[in-house]
């Protein structure tokens, strides 16, 4: 059991870390493409070695410790951020169970977590700490303002995130991610059954990951670099990693909750070999995650940033009431339509 889990953890971590470094490259390519530029193309063929160079650069840079900082917390903040970002991956089912030599292996580090959905929300709420503490411990005004903004923003949008989730839980009747996928296989993807819930969840995910148009915590024109103004070298890299890892986990969670996870419609009717089906499932899941990530980046380079009051108005006066209405809609739908 323990060995199996450790192997899974190593695989997932390596995959995600590699993915993150290439996501940075991807982001630069996409931004270049959207802005009609060429983008990185010097390091290696097509610029494919760019991430390696970036990592080396960050590792070799001097680790600057601001004199006004709270040393311990300053060091701990990026660690919290990255830990939380990766922890969510522990319960994501990356595919249906694989049967190898008569033994069934589930493709999640921890499968059958009864409270999977709650676990995600709980960890999201812990994620605020990394940024908040980073902002405070740096001893700089820009960082502090960034940290404050981020806490306010994340706390506000967590509510909508949760309300969006409620519709999923209502429809599927379980908090277990595996169960949610099973329910979608049986009754159709949640994006169709709860479109409004999906919208809410998507928008709040943007806010929770601090991505544009919700990237006020690090708004360059006003706050220099926001909460990580005073970070350099590997500690900065950890924040960078966390941001992209968060994007991956958010995409994975959305794929599981609303797009049926590894499920591909009508594929099981073709009578394929179960192992092949499982592999195709993993690929499909990867593709869904990629689609979301692409969307994240696309939005980032297309839409301008909100003003702070707009952000709060949107969260509390538009999305929150919509979330509550959505619950009523879902309840009616479940009672009258799906029975």
């Amino acid at each position: 059991m323990v060995v199996e889990a450790l192997i899974k953890i190593v695989i997932v971590l390596l995959t995600v870390l590699t993915a993150v470094s290439y996501l940075v490259l991807l982001e630069r390519w996409i931004s270049a493409w959207l802005q009609d530029r060429i983008g990185p193309n010097r390091t290696g063929p097509l610029g494919l070695f760019q991430p390696l160079a970036d990592v080396l650069k960050l590792l070799l840079k001097e680790d600057i410790e601001p004199s006004q900082s709270e040393k311990w917390i300053h060091w701990l903040a990026p660690v919290i951020s990255i830990t939380v970002a990766f922890s969510v991956l522990a319960i994501i089912p990356f595919g249906s169970a694989i049967i190898l030599s008569g033994k069934s292996y589930s493709l999640a580090i921890a499968s059958n977590v009864n409270i999977g959905v709650l676990y995600i929300i709980a960890l999201t709420s812990v994620g605020v700490y990394g940024i908040t503490l980073a902002g405070w411990s740096s001893g700089s005004k820009y960082s502090l303002l960034g940290g404050l903004r981020s806490s306010a923003q994340m706390i506000s949008y967590e509510l909508t995130l949760g309300l969006g989730l409620v519709s999923v839980v209502m429809l599927c009747g379980t908090l277990d991610l595996g169960g949610i996928i099973q329910s979608q296989i049986a009754g159709g993807w949640n994006i169709i059954r709860a479109p409004l819930g999906f919208m809410l969840f998507l928008i709040s995910s943007f806010a929770e990951t601090n991505r544009q148009p919700f990237d006020l915590p690090e708004a360059e024109p006003e706050l220099v670099g926001g909460y990580h103004t005073e970070y350099s070298s590997m500690k900065f890299a950890l924040f960078f990693l966390a941001e992209y890892a968060n994007m991956i986990t958010a995409s994975a969670v959305m794929s599981v909750l609303f797009l049926g996870g590894w499920h591909v419609p009508f594929l099981n009717t073709l009578g394929m070999d179960p192992s092949l089906l499982a592999v195709l499932g993993i690929l499909a899941f990867g593709l869904k995650i990629f689609a979301f990530i692409f969307f994240f980046m696309w939005v980032r380079w297309s839409i301008p940033r909100f003003r702070y009051d707009q952000l709060m108005n949107l969260g509390w006066k538009v999305l929150l009431p919509l979330g509550i209405i959505n619950i009523v809609i879902t309840a009616l739908e479940k009672t009258y339509l799906l029975h």
């Binding site: 709270e70 709980a122 405070w136 404050l148 379980t174 908090l175």
Partner: protein
């Protein structure tokens, strides 16, 4: 293994609490509470109370503590304030705490974990109180024995996915069902309680409009 993990969580909980109590800097005090809350969540999980554990994280870590840290962050120069009280008070507090600890210990160890109950055939029977009595509330009452067992069967039929997962032990389904059946009243009452708190918070925190602002508001409404 189980024991070791238990002690690790216990150490995190107590260690965090100790730092909270003794830290000079209020930020560290607030921050170390985070570890206490985490440790408690871990202990809940070890007691098979998964729902409670996550709720603990959500409410305390995600809600209460972040507000606390917010408050600390917004208070200028609070990091330099020494929040400890004088030595004299510390001695008194220490003695009081030890006394309370002694009383609690006496109460817990003086209370046997067993007591006699009459079993169905009329013979006296020694039962372990924490285990049996505590597992089902109201097990002693006659009018509710059926109600509790009935309540555990979901009235509206659990979805198939839930049934397929029956092997693992989870409490959320049970808690959810109880909320809407046996404990409906407290569940609804809590919403009133929260509403009162919300109302109170807004009443206390809201900005008193100045005369100018009032005038503007009136001119707009007319």
């Amino acid at each position: 293994m189980f024991d070791i993990i238990f002690y690790i969580f216990g150490a995190i909980t107590v260690g965090g609490a100790l730092v909270t109590a003794f830290a000079r800097n209020i930020v560290y005090a607030a921050f170390s509470l985070l570890f206490t809350f985490f440790g408690i969540a871990g202990l809940y999980i070890m007691a098979n109370a998964d729902f409670l554990a996550v709720t603990q994280l959500l409410v305390y870590v995600g809600g209460i503590l972040i507000l606390l840290i917010f408050g600390v962050m917004l208070t200028s120069r609070i990091g330099t304030v020494d929040i400890r009280v004088g030595t004299g008070s510390r001695w008194v507090a220490g003695i009081m705490a030890l006394g309370l600890f002694a009383i609690l210990c006496a109460a817990f160890f003086g209370t046997a974990a067993t007591h006699t109950e009459k079993s169905a055939d009329g013979k006296s029977q020694v039962v372990t109180s924490w285990a049996t009595h505590a597992t089902r509330p109201w097990s002693g009452s006659k009018w509710n024995q059926d109600a509790t067992t009935e309540a555990l069967k979901p009235k509206y039929g659990a979805p198939d996915e839930v049934k397929s997962n029956e092997g693992s032990s989870g409490t959320s389904v049970e808690i959810g069902t109880l909320f809407l059946t046996d404990y409906l009243l407290p569940f609804e009452v809590i919403s009133v309680l929260i509403l009162v708190s919300l109302l109170g918070a807004t009443m206390i925190a809201r900005k008193e409009p100045t005369k100018e602002e009032e005038a503007i508001a009136e001119s707009v409404s007319v």
